[in-house]
Amino acid sequence: MNELPQQLVNGLLLGSMYGLVAIGYTMVYGIVQLINFAHGEIFMTGAFGALTVYAYVLPGGTSMWIALPLMLVGAIIVAVLVAVGAERFAYRPLRTAPRLAPLITAIGLSLALQQAVWAWYPEAKSARTFPTIPGGPFNIGNVTIQTGDIFLVVVAPLSMAFLAYFVMRTRTGRGMQATAQDPDTAKLMGVNTDRIIVIAFALGAAFAAIGGVAYGLKYGQIDFKMGFLLGLKAFTAAVLGGIGNIYGAMLGGLVLGVAEALSTAYISDIPGMDKFGSQSWADVWAFVLLILVLLFRPQGLLGERVADRA
């Protein structure tokens, strides 16, 4: 049986989750040139927000069709609150500080959020089970799509379309573009840059929260460490696609996901490479791809060559 279509679907699904999280990295970087390493943890708190709604707010046995939209709302509220709080209390006071200071703050915040969930969320010291959507998997030809993945298939393109519309067409979106190009001039033109920055953090967090719910539905469990590796991958996706470019983040995520799936599936079939083909090597191949792309296109796949202000 030909497994290529299935592996491509596996990769695209994983990649759209990377893409949803990568948007947060790329938007914040585009506007304040900060690599928000706590973003993976915002993704994690979003997933826990959804779980809180399901396990502690809604009555037991609520149908997933009613629960899911409410969980999504809960996830977005928690993630946005955490991100806006982080911006207000951790990053804004450091906006004029040397670049290393907010970066290290971000790493510290990431650890603090992990440990806070670990310490105070009920039973979060080991993995918690996440509710899943009932119903069997769907078969299209010889490709199987899990019920939990339907959420990703529907939500990832919708979110992307919404974001494109928001940034290109609305007044606030244009303000974001202006702030990204030149914050000082934007301010002179009457753009409230502080507000724009908060919106960038909040939007990124909302997308991460959607990613967090998708993660829970896909794997059926969440834990306090789930944001670390996924955040790292999403950051890689953002760099791969061209950091600062929102379409690049989504494309970078998809390319990374497909690269991981295909390297797991096929590298071991190359004669003499069977030692390097397993899933534990997939990350290595993903980063080899990143290095190759950056060698030939330092600005990333969709990035534009801009004067380096960083």
Binding site: E3, N10, Y219, Q279
Partner: protein, 411 residues
Amino acid sequence: MRQRSLIAITAALAAGALTLTACGSRDSGDKGSDSGSGTTVTIGVDAPLTGDLSALGLGIKNSVDLAVKQANKKKYVSGVTFKIEAKDDQAQPSSGQANASAFVSDSSVYGVVGPLNSSVAQSMQKVFDDAKLVEVSPANTNPALTQGDNWQTSKSRPYKSYFRTATTDAIQGPYAAQYVYNTAKLTKAFIIDDKKTYGAGLAATFTGEFKKLGGKVVGTEHINPDSKDYSAVVTKVKNSGATVVYYGGEYPQAGPLSKQLKAAGAKIPLVGGDGIYADDYIKLAGTAAAGDMATSVGAPVETLASAKEFVDNYKAGGYSEAYGAYGGYSYDSAWAIIEAVKKVVDDNGGKLPSDARAKITAAVQNVSFDGVTGKVSFDEYGDATNKQLTVYKVDGGAWKAATSGTYTPSS
């Protein structure tokens, strides 16, 4: 100016650090003096008390705690009060080694039970051996820990202070292979491991025996334990035509793997070692766990007459976590140390000798008593002489013993 303030800060920090260490040493000094009325013997416990594997680790800690309480209640060693000191290794070799050093420097520690993970044990063995402090693991199954890296060809014991009450992968993997091939009649296996010392070792010994019996290995794969996405791997398994998956690793990965495997349409059982024999495995895999199998060391604790007392006492002890797969072995490990302390104290006229650690290590080698898991004694490598194994199968949302026996090598 700048440099001068740097020096001032450094000096202040150094002074602070010195004050703190002074406090520390005074504290332990106090502890030493108030034990004048009777000797306090601390038994260290090293296990993952937090993180993915905490369900197993807390079971170990509680079981040792129970053993110590029983010994104190019975006044088993006159003039000696036992207590436990539990440290969390988070299943990380580096944390394990730091804990080992801390135990060695605490002079009231005369024995350590733990760790859970073979990879952690590797980082601790030398630290304990240098201090002649005895370490009894209830759960390590890697043969190299007791029989040296070349255990397949020439056995030699690397560390005299290391013992274990668990049986090894050298027995567990082949035992599983025999069950899968001969009893379950599954002949095409896909082997997956997590590249850790325990998982890779188990997968290798299973593969060896399975091929010897005439089984076919249709594929091998190594997963990244930090990831939860195994979709690419399960697609490979599904297309390989395997009738069984053998997984060398632990339940935090095995549970989701089994779930994703069945969801992808590969309705074949996953078989693993004692690392997946945990209630959390069924919790994580959900209904997909039905029919999955695990081997575990020893006879089922619940069925042994000697174990009934342990189970009853554990329940009466009011511990909030289950004793888990290694509870009985942890209890026996702690008792092996307690028995050794008794022997040393009795031989020395009721007091601990000055070289108590070395004497206790030597005494553990010769202990022999009826424990929770059967007869507890150690062979010349420090391995348990009890080689009982049990196959468990998930049935109706719980592990049920399928068969129990001792391993005999196939010719």
